[in-house]
């Protein structure tokens, strides 16, 4: 039996369906990312779990306890918002202690818990600052501490990093994951950033148009996308239709064939064997640590990624090369 069980959840606004028949379960201590483009319904799903939006159908069970109709106050769910949602007229300490004061805990319990969580998020010394005196990263750490200090059963994170700079985002990402592991906290993280999802998650739920289209470990979602949408959304992908397949491999398929650019090996024409595809370099783009080649083979242009190992390694435009693609790196998608 899983820690969190969601079954048949649906939410409609007026005439339009945001999502329908959504079901999943989370294990205790699992870090799961809900990944999808904006407007796919992921935030609304999160709000339904928190009780901030009422589902039109379905059940939400946490630790054997049906909370579908509970008020947000009694769900034991913590949430961190994209825009921090800190209380502007309260100090850092007052913000973090708000939930404890609502529980009417004795003052020294509050003090003790505050001290622990402030150390956890490394905000010692900032207790009497106001939110507007903090940087974006510090604010989000206050919001995290405020959600953690009441010891929620589930932590929901609604794009908590998207308002931050790249460098701070990377740091805070690590910190969140680290704290989550230490507290063994069941966490559902919402984002539209596939890199963030892959780095952080035990499992990724990919959402598209109100449906969870794939729910797997990060590696699996990336290397074995269930649908064309997933293949496209998770990084770059060569998607070949039946005609291109026939030209390249001599047999057609239903749907599309997905091949990741980094799984194709570029060989010098001399090294290429009978099973390899003959091809010509058309263009290259320096992406930083990776060079992305556009390679044409039998009338189809494929993207091929190669590590950037200096000038001598670069294949000039027009070079004749061989492409080696392993059978297990090709994947048929719907």
């Amino acid at each position: 039996m899983s820690y969190v069980n969601v079954t048949g959840l649906a939410r409609r606004f007026g005439g339009t369906t945001v999502f329908e028949n959504v079901g999943f379960s989370l294990d205790k201590g699992e870090f799961v990312t809900l990944l999808g483009p904006s407007g796919c319904g992921k935030s609304t799903l999160l709000r339904c779990l928190a009780g901030l939006s009422r589902p039109d159908a379905g059940r939400i069970v946490v630790a054997g306890d049906d909370i579908t109709d509970s008020v947000p106050q009694r769900r034991g769910i913590g949430m961190v918002f994209q825009n921090y949602a800190l209380f502007p007229t309260m100090t850092v300490a007052a913000n973090i202690g708000f939930g404890l004061r609502m529980q009417r805990l004795p003052a020294d319990d509050i003090e003790r818990k505050l001290a622990t969580v402030i150390d956890l998020v490394e905000l010692r010394g900032k207790e009497s600052h106001y939110p507007h005196q903090l940087s974006g990263g510090q604010r989000q750490r206050v919001a995290l501490a405020r959600a953690l200090v009441v010891e929620p059963r589930i932590l929901l994170l609604d794009e908590p990093l998207s308002a931050l700079d790249a460098r701070i985002r990377a740091n805070l990402r690590e910190q969140i994951r680290d704290i989550q592991r230490r507290l063994d906290l069941t966490t559902l993280f919402v984002t539209h950033d596939q890199e963030e999802a892959m780095i952080l998650s035990d499992r990724i739920f990919v959402m598209d148009k109100g449906k969870i289209v794939q729910a797997d470990a990060a590696e699996t979602v990336y290397t074995q996308p269930a649908t064309e949408f997933v293949a496209r959304f998770m990084g770059s992908c060569n998607l070949l239709d039946a005609a291109a397949c026939t030209r390249l491999f001599g047999h057609g398929i239903d749907g599309h064939l997905a091949i990741r650019p980094e799984s194709i090996e570029l060989l010098a024409a001399a090294e290429a064997g009978a099973d390899d595809l003959p091809a010509t370099i058309r263009q290259h783009q320096l992406l930083g640590n990776v060079i992305r080649y556009q390679v044409e083979s039998r009338g189809t242009v494929l993207l091929v990624d190669r590590l950037n190992r200096g000038r001598d390694d670069l294949l000039p435009r027009g070079s004749e090369v061989g492409l080696r693609i392993r059978r297990e790196d090709m994947r048929e998608v719907g």
Partner: protein, 261 residues
Amino acid sequence: MRADLYHRLVVAALVALLAVPVLATLAYSLAGNWGATILPDSFSVRWYLQLWHDPRFLSAFGHSLLISVATLLLSTLVIVPAVFVVFYRFPALDRTMNLLILLPFAVPPVVSSVGLLQLYADGPLPLVGTPWILIGCYFTIALPFMYRTLADSLRGMNLHDLMDAAHLLGASTPRAFLLVVAPNLRTGLMASLFLSFSFLLGEFVFANILVGTRYETLQVYLYSVRMTSGHFTSAIVMSYFVFTLVLTWFATRLGKQESQA
């Protein structure tokens, strides 16, 4: 550079336009005697002393203060929850409210006070001549100021996220409002209260038509003494002006403290 000079002139002209009458009045109120000369012959503060020892002036001032403060108390109690409800539950109502609050502002005081005179002169609610009708009237005058300012404050915060965060941390809606939202409204509320206060203190038409000398307010008193010595009335004008300046300064300082806190 020529464009710059032109810009500076425009601004200077605007400032002068507003400052000259004030300075002239100040000179006049301090003049002991001012005959045919350009500057007065002597200076004295006797007009100010005379004003601030007049018992009728002091009682009228008291009446005005009482009515203004009562109005603002009533307004605060009604409008603060109302504007919260509009923004939190019925955001679509904001448009309607914005039109509604313009009405008492757009119907001129003479017209509406004449209307109110008909309604409340006798009949079931004979309010005319009592301070109560002024409090009611002034409520509708304060409404636009207060609604606008509070609405701006609410628009400036993430009301729904703040309420959601407070709910998830265990607060009920009233507690979340009192602990999280209300403190954010304080600066805006204070500013609008000060503005309403100085406006209400200066209101004449309603006070004169609806109540008159039966409960004389400051403006009705000032109106009735307007034909006495010009120096005396200048002293009134300057006293009032200083009073307003002090109020404004106080309000600004309060606003600053808030934003530093």
